[in-house]
């Protein structure tokens, strides 16, 4: 766009990408692993405090009902029971839970007068053991007044009266409705030579980490302070909001992070579990452990994924995609914690890797009697990728184009970066054709097309899927508020920090301000710091600060952590380096500008042997400061801290015709699955899978490949098996792992071949881009494309997920009947 250069802030990159590194880019074994491999990792349920009691929660059996009365007397009388708390009692001790929507939707940690989904907590019991607590739950008697149940979002949008979930917000279940135009939409559709139309359905699935959410809370009446051990991912970002729910000032709450057994977005917040445990602990005067059981987690984790119905139109002129219109109904469930942030997110890359001029989004967010949406790997952009790639495939099919040629022709070209898309977001860099070429080569695309032809002649249905899509990384929190009418905010950052110190023996301590959730924060920090200080990784140890000690930080999410952590480490390491050099200059009686760091030593450049080890310098810095010249900036010891702000972001325009730069560090991927569909059973089998990603400069190709493969596995789950299936009464029919089908090894490709292309970001340290979500953001459209391609001879069209055997059999049967009818 013509005004592009003036609107892009200058880069604040300090460490440009290099041609060679010592530690960055190596497949270093993870420093997190030894304790995890030996059973010595501490997860939240491994925390045991003296005098600790155990909580369990009574779940609502109704999807929508008023609580007429609760009788807890029999539960209270049971041996071993310490405390029983109803929602009304909890409401006297704890206020509403945090909500980012505006206006907010009120949610209490335990439902007080009305339940809005199956599984919502109704009462909590604290007892000497979890067993006794669960016994007591069975003795609580609740009198219910059932209300009309809303499970269909289109019906819910029309409901009034008792069918409205939150009457205090007005007589409607429509929580948000707004239209946005970016660029000349009407013009592009008026001038189009083809308009492709589809109705698409993205089903509700979720992260389902193997470990549920938990908290161990204690309250010290002497200090008036709570301590909560929790597996929350953003405890340092939003901990003060938990304090607000508990009715204490933020400095009266310390959140101590534990390891998390997976999150994939679902543990970003975990506020309800923390508030329940803390409220109970304060009320009963003992530490309380509350760990969700699997049914609590599946029915009420506050973190179901997106659930959307789309009407989409794509304008094409002269073989080029020009405009996109999306009419979306999103079923948000009973509450609205992140507002429509998921749609803000998707607008960062809604036009994908393609040169398009205009976008219209009509967005309707509806509240229904289901668990509320949270975050799941992709946070709305997973859906955007599916929708856009389905439309591209539809265009290819209707225009009788080649799927590769059509994509190539529409790609943004390498010399067009930085590139501003119609919504105003910037793509920092990329080379989409290079990623595509690499993937085609790794798969032997031409060979598989030949085998596909042969298979078809033998009555076998083999399909080759293709998805070329984006992975935006490094969010600016703008996405959470920019779609609201008001208020607007000033420019947001969402920073990340580290604190470093070198002890008197030359060992380095790194304190992270965000937790481990299955990613590799310790390994990333170690590799970057080893590169910065030219030190052996063995000499580095990494710990996690609690919220009392945490500097300004955000935590993992939105594929941001590696980029942001690298920025924080670089900033802090440069301060530490400077101090090391200043002290060594005194010791070596030389000028600081002559010194360099090499192999754990500070030495005179070009003079081998003229050097001091880090241990020598560190000892001097710690204990002999006054032997050096008086200089107020040179204090004893070696320590540094750095807060790294978002590398490049701008404000949205007041009229929201342009959302500004908010998710600019743009990864890209090409996924090519090959599947065989058994048309008699509807079973989909993988014959091959290639995923090539561009995440800028690679920090650790081994762990990045791990993210990609794991994400692909989850994406295949979304595409083929997983669904939170609510019936008309709002009962969740897939509330356990027998019914909610997480792929096992037998459902997945034996090998997912991962390739990497590196186009470094000009805006981040070393040019790193995020890569944590990409696998799951690419697999659903790629698998849908492969299945449709396999069934092309039957004319099957794939518009909805998951493609379960039963659903696919239905599509195949329909297509066959259609053909028979046509032949008559």
């Amino acid at each position: 766009m013509s005004d592009a250069p003036s609107r892009i802030p200058r880069s604040r990159q300090q460490e440009p990408p290099r041609s060679a590194y010592r530690w960055i880019g190596r497949p270093m074994k993870r420093v997190e692993d030894p304790r995890l491999l030996t059973g010595h990792g501490t997860y939240v349920d491994d925390i045991h405090l003296p005098g600790m009691a155990h909580a369990a929660v009574l779940r609502s059996p109704h999807a929508h009902a008023r609580i007429k009365s609760i009788d807890t007397s029999r539960a209270k009388a049971l041996s071993g029971v310490i405390l029983v708390m109803t929602g009304a009692e909890a409401a006297e001790k704890a206020g509403p839970l945090p909500c980012f929507a505006n206006p907010p939707v009120k949610q209490m940690c335990i439902a007080a007068d009305r339940v809005r989904h199956v599984g919502e907590p109704v009462a909590a019991v604290v007892a000497e053991s979890r067993y006794a607590a669960e016994d007591a739950l069975e003795l609580i008697e609740v009198t219910w007044e059932p209300l009309p149940v809303m499970t269909d979002p289109e019906e819910a949008a029309r409901a009034s009266g008792d069918g409205v979930l939150h009457p205090d917000r007005g007589d409607t279940n429509v929580a948000f409705r707004r239209s946005f135009d970016f660029g000349p939409v009407d013009e592009d559709f008026a001038q189009a030579d083809h308009i492709i139309r589809r109705k698409l359905r993205w089903p509700r699935s979720g992260a389902q980490p193997m470990e549920t959410v938990g908290a161990v809370a204690e309250y010290n009446p002497g200090t008036g302070k709570f301590t909560i051990h929790a597996n929350s991912s953003m405890y340092n970002y939003v901990g003060w909001l938990v304090a607000a729910s508990l009715g204490v000032p933020a400095h009266r709450l310390n959140i101590v992070p534990t390891l998390a057994g997976g999150s994939f977005g679902s543990k970003i917040f975990t506020h309800r579990v923390m508030v329940i445990a803390a409220t109970l602990a304060r009320a009963c005067g003992r530490p309380v452990k509350y760990i969700e059981d699997r049914i609590d987690n599946i029915t009420a984790c506050d973190a179901h994924g997106c659930d959307r119905i789309y009407d989409v139109e794509l304008a094409i002129k002269d073989g080029l995609m020009t405009g996109l219109k999306c009419h979306v109904i999103d079923d948000y469930g009973a509450y609205f914690q992140f507002g429509v942030g998921h749609h803000g997110n998707a607008l960062s890359q809604i036009t994908g890797p393609y040169r398009m001029r205009s976008v219209r989004l009509d967005l309707i967010a509806v509240l229904t009697n289901k668990c509320q949406q949270g975050a799941y790997r992709g946070f709305g952009s997973d859906v955007g990728n599916f929708v856009l790639e389905r439309m591209v495939d539809a265009a290819v099919r209707e225009l009788n184009e080649d799927p590769i040629q059509f994509r190539r022709r529409n790609f943004i070209q390498p010399d067009q970066f930085p590139y501003l898309i119609p919504t105003g977001n910037m793509y920092d860099s990329g080379n989409y054709s290079a990623v595509l070429e690499e993937a085609l080569g790794l798969l032997d695309y031409a060979g598989w097309r030949k085998r596909q032809q042969e298979a078809r002649q033998n009555g076998k249905f083999i399909g080759i899927g293709i998805a070329t899509c984006q992975e935006r990384s490094v969010f600016s929190a703008t996405e959470f508020w920019m779609l609201n009418e008001d208020p607007g905010f000033a420019l947001t950052s969402s920073p990340e920090s580290v604190a470093l110190k070198m002890d008197p023996t030359g060992k380095v301590f790194v304190a992270l301000q965000a937790p481990f959730w299955g990613n590799s924060p310790e390994t990333v920090a170690t590799q970057i710091l080893a590169e910065q200080l030219q030190i052996d990784p063995q000499d580095i140890t990494v710990t996690y600060s609690d919220s009392d000690h945490g500097l300004n930080g955000t935590g993992p999410g939105g594929s941001r952590f590696t980029v942001m952590l690298a920025g924080a480490v670089v900033g802090a390491a440069q301060q530490l380096k400077q101090k090391l050099i200043r002290v060594a200059a005194h010791m070596l009686e030389t000028d600081a500008s002559d010194l360099e760091l090499r192999d754990g030593k500070v030495g005179v450049r070009g003079v081998p042997g003229m050097e001091k080890t880090f241990a020598e310098v560190a000892l001097h810095a710690h204990y002999f400061r006054l032997s050096m010249p008086d200089d107020p900036s040179l204090t004893s010891g070696l320590d540094a801290a750095h807060v790294y702000d978002h590398p490049v972001t701008t404000l949205p325009a007041a009229d929201r015709k342009n959302l500004g730069i908010f998710y600019p560090i743009m990864g890209h991927m090409c996924h090519l699955p090959v599947v065989e569909v058994d048309i008699e059973t509807g079973k989909v089998k993988f014959l091959a899978y290639v995923a090539v990603h561009d995440c800028g400069t690679l920090v650790n190709p081994m762990t990045l490949a791990g993210h990609v493969r794991g994400g692909v596995a989850q994406g295949i789950g979304t595409a083929l098996y997983e669904r939170y299936h609510y019936d008309r009464e709002g009962q969740l029919l897939t509330a356990n792992f027998m019914d909610y089908l997480i792929p096992t090894l037998h459902e997945l490709p034996e090998e997912i071949v991962v390739g990497h292309i590196e186009t470094p970001s000009p805006f981040t340290e070393y040019g790193i881009k995020g890569g944590g979500e990409g696998g799951r953001m690419g697999a659903p459209p790629a698998v849908a494309s492969a299945v449709e391609d396999a069934l092309k001879p039957l004319g099957v069209q794939v518009d909805a997920l998951p493609l379960t055997p039963r659903y696919l059999r239905g599509l195949i049967r329909q297509a066959q009947q259609h053909r028979l009818a046509a032949a008559d």
Partner: protein, 162 residues
């Protein structure tokens, strides 16, 4: 109504433990909360995910589907009984090298399933490895590197015993 406690005597990783427990206490909770062996994890408590897999008299078992009293007189092995950080078991070492874990929550279960296979069958095929670990869920890795890790450990043990 509370039922009288029962005595349980088990050997876990070669150490004898004797405790008096409620008959309904799950073996998984017994190991984790009575004995403090928290390396064995709990994922679903309905026997599907396999996080709580241990070796009970040499065979893999889901400790959330057994009562502690049922293990009376049994030999139990858990992840804590494999190698230590300074001296990893070949299967632990192979998981580390092949990146067979991310969040680490399913790892103890995967390791115990692999150990059962390796001890019973020193030369398993790829398919046998897949079957051995194929009943345990992992949400992080996509399983490929887990299978590769077991295959590597098998090869290493074969080289040592040659």
């Amino acid at each position: 109504m509370p039922i009288d406690n029962e005595r349980v005597r088990v050997s876990v990783n070669g150490v004898i433990y004797e405790r008096s427990v409620e008959p309904r206490l799950l073996l998984s909770d017994f190991l984790r909360h009575e004995l403090g062996l928290t390396g064995t994890h709990v994922g679903c408590e309905h026997g599907v995910c396999g996080m709580c897999t241990i070796l009970l008299d040499g065979r893999t078992a889901r400790s959330c589907l057994a009562f502690a009293v049922q293990a009376d007189g049994c030999q139990i092995r858990t992840v804590e009984g494999l190698g230590s950080v300074d001296s990893l078991h070949p299967i632990q070492d192979a998981f580390w090298e092949k990146h067979g874990l991310q969040c680490g929550y399913c790892t103890p279960a995967m390791l115990m399933a692999a150990v059962e296979l390796m001890e019973a069958n020193p030369n398993p095929s790829r398919e046998e490895i897949r079957d051995a670990v194929g009943g345990i869920l992992c949400r992080c890795t996509g399983y490929q590197t887990i299978v590769e890790a077991v295959a590597l450990a098998v090869r290493r043990v074969q080289e040592v015993t040659k």
